[in-house]
Amino acid sequence: MMLRKVIRLISKSHKYDVLVYTSFCHTVFQFSRSFCQMLHSGCFLHVGTKASQSIAVSLDTQVLGEKCRTISRTQENDPANHREHHLCQHYSIPLEEMKTIFPHGLPPRFGMQVKTFNEACLMVREPALELLHYLRSTNFANPAIRYVIYGEKGTGKTLTLCHAVHFCAKQNWLIMHVPDAHCWVKNCRDLLQSTYNKERYDQPLKASTWLKNFKTSNERFLNQIKIQQKYIWNKRESIEEGRPLGEVVEQGLNRVKNASDAVGIVMKELKRQSSLGSFRLLVAVDSVNALWGRTTLKKEDKSLVAPEELTLVHNVKKMVTSDWHGGAIVVSLSQTGSLFKPRAAYLPQDLLGKLTRKKGKRSCFFLVTQIPGN
């Protein structure tokens, strides 16, 4: 099978979108590696039924397992140093870093594997390497480039995103990671009408969980960044200019009703201040097609809520536009968990839909062209 190339799409009018295609890459070389990995996991396979073969098989797999473990693992645990010769090898993330960098964001099955085996190993793959190459060579004076990771089910989009997040965390960027945008457009019991804007709806619980995880991952930045505007929560509470961002997050966590607004403030401030250069911002959104899809949430008069009417979605959409500089936007599509999309849909055109360029100050558009199939 031919090595499937990572597809890049940069055109004149849409300079700031780059599409990254993850696929189930196989070459003969890689197949033997993956076969070794299967045998390595074969150490734990059950060989107890046929007793005559059991001893011989377990010895063989042990010896092979030892060899395979050295082939398929690499000692290079810093994503900044990952190059082509690390391809198809697993690097491990220490568990203490896991708690700070990934309080949320890992796929649930991967999280279970991490808990069972007490180690988090990610495989270094070509789409991730290309993405890291782009991130390494970003020009922070230009507007933020939006990288879209798409591919069929089970090809590693979320884990590629997590690889990029790990890289940026190690480089001391500020990470704004939305683990699964699909969670925000469905299964919400508590929909409050927003106090800030009557037409929008708040989701206090989801916003407060996000704020908690944001705080865990970016503890050190919250005291350094100061807000540049006064915000009034209600008649009695307000935040003055010059206070650290940590106070906004605290307010959002303590008063769950204001959590969504706190999220909005955090995003607005970070967007404004990333251009100043004191920190670099990475906006990582998984399952971004939820922001432009449909919701299953209903208002009190049983009419459907559009995604634009949700505060959280509205704020994240503002972050995902390329009108700020000083960082990058990495985004992945996902059909799993999406609403009203057929199972076979994986291309950006199918999942995001055809979006026309809106005339006006803020226009959000994606490059949508047919990528040749394999």
Partner: protein
């Protein structure tokens, strides 16, 4: 009639055939009810027909397409992997005989795979509802996975000395748990003097295995909390049974106690 007789005489009796009654039962593999009906006689295989002619007034109702001449397939890979030099004369003769015999097709669930376990297959079939083997099999696999994860968790949390005592292989846990649930004696209802007595009686291996699996599945289905999934509950019960605790082992002990209490009626058993 004459044609049928000649065809029957051509098909020879297989060597070492069991009793006539056994020949009747063999094709159907169970004690098939036999009905007196001349019409059904024509549809049966030649070997069966000959036997049934000897027992007038009896015809098999449940039957199989396979004749008595069809042999059971040999699915064990070890049998074929034995090198030719190690075979005894008998085994060589058997191998040559097999080249001329006709064999039944093996069922789809039986493979010569390394991972096949007859106990697990039987348990999966007993868990199956409405023929949904896919669901039953996936539940079984998930149960084994959950068992393994639970044991790994215990392994990582245990100190170095205790680590060797923790069993991580889900298959050994499964087999040992079912072994621990198997009752030794069972109770049989015997009618004597117009009253039914519960008499303690020995059980065959198959019955014991069946009872252990049945109790395990019943326990998990009935006592499961509403929102808990079957693999989680099953893995919990299996772990408890592995350590000789839990409700299924308690049920086995209760049966033993009943048998002990009724041992005065043991003489009512005549087999």
């Amino acid at each position: 009639m004459k044609d049928r007789e000649s065809s029957q005489s051509r098909s020879g009796k297989p060597a070492g055939s069991p009793s006539r009654l056994g020949r009747v039962l063999e094709p159907a593999k169970m004690a098939a009810p036999v009905v007196g009906s001349a019409r059904c006689l024509c549809l049966l295989g030649p070997g069966v027909r000959r036997t049934l002619r000897a027992l007038p007034g009896l015809t098999q109702v449940r039957w199989s397409r396979y004749d008595a001449n069809y042999k059971e397939p040999q699915l064990d890979k070890d049998y074929y992997l034995k090198p030719l030099e190690e075979l005894t004369e008998e085994e060589k003769f058997e191998r040559d005989l097999r080249t001329t015999q006709i064999f039944k097709a093996p069922p789809a669930s039986k493979t010569s795979s390394l991972f096949e376990d007859p106990v697990i297959s039987k348990f999966t079939n007993m868990m199956m509802k409405g023929g949904n083997k896919i669901l039953a099999r996936s539940l079984m696999i998930e149960t084994l996975e959950t068992l393994k994860r639970k044991q790994f968790k215990k392994y990582h949390e245990a100190k170095a000395e205790e680590r060797e005592t923790i069993e991580c292989n889900p298959y050994t846990i499964f087999h040992q748990a079912l072994q621990n649930c198997q009752p030794i004696l069972g109770l049989v209802s015997i009618l004597k003097g117009g009253r039914f007595y519960q008499v303690p009686a020995p059980l065959t291996d198959r019955r014991r295995q069946f009872l252990a699996m049945k109790w395990m599945i019943q326990e998990c289905r009935e006592k499961k909390p509403r929102r808990m999934l079957m693999p989680e509950k099953l893995s919990h019960e299996l772990l408890e049974a592995f350590h000789n605790q839990g409700p299924v082992v308690k049920r086995k002990h209760d049966l033993h106690k009943m048998a002990e209490a009724n041992r005065a009626f043991a003489h009512y058993r005549w087999w």
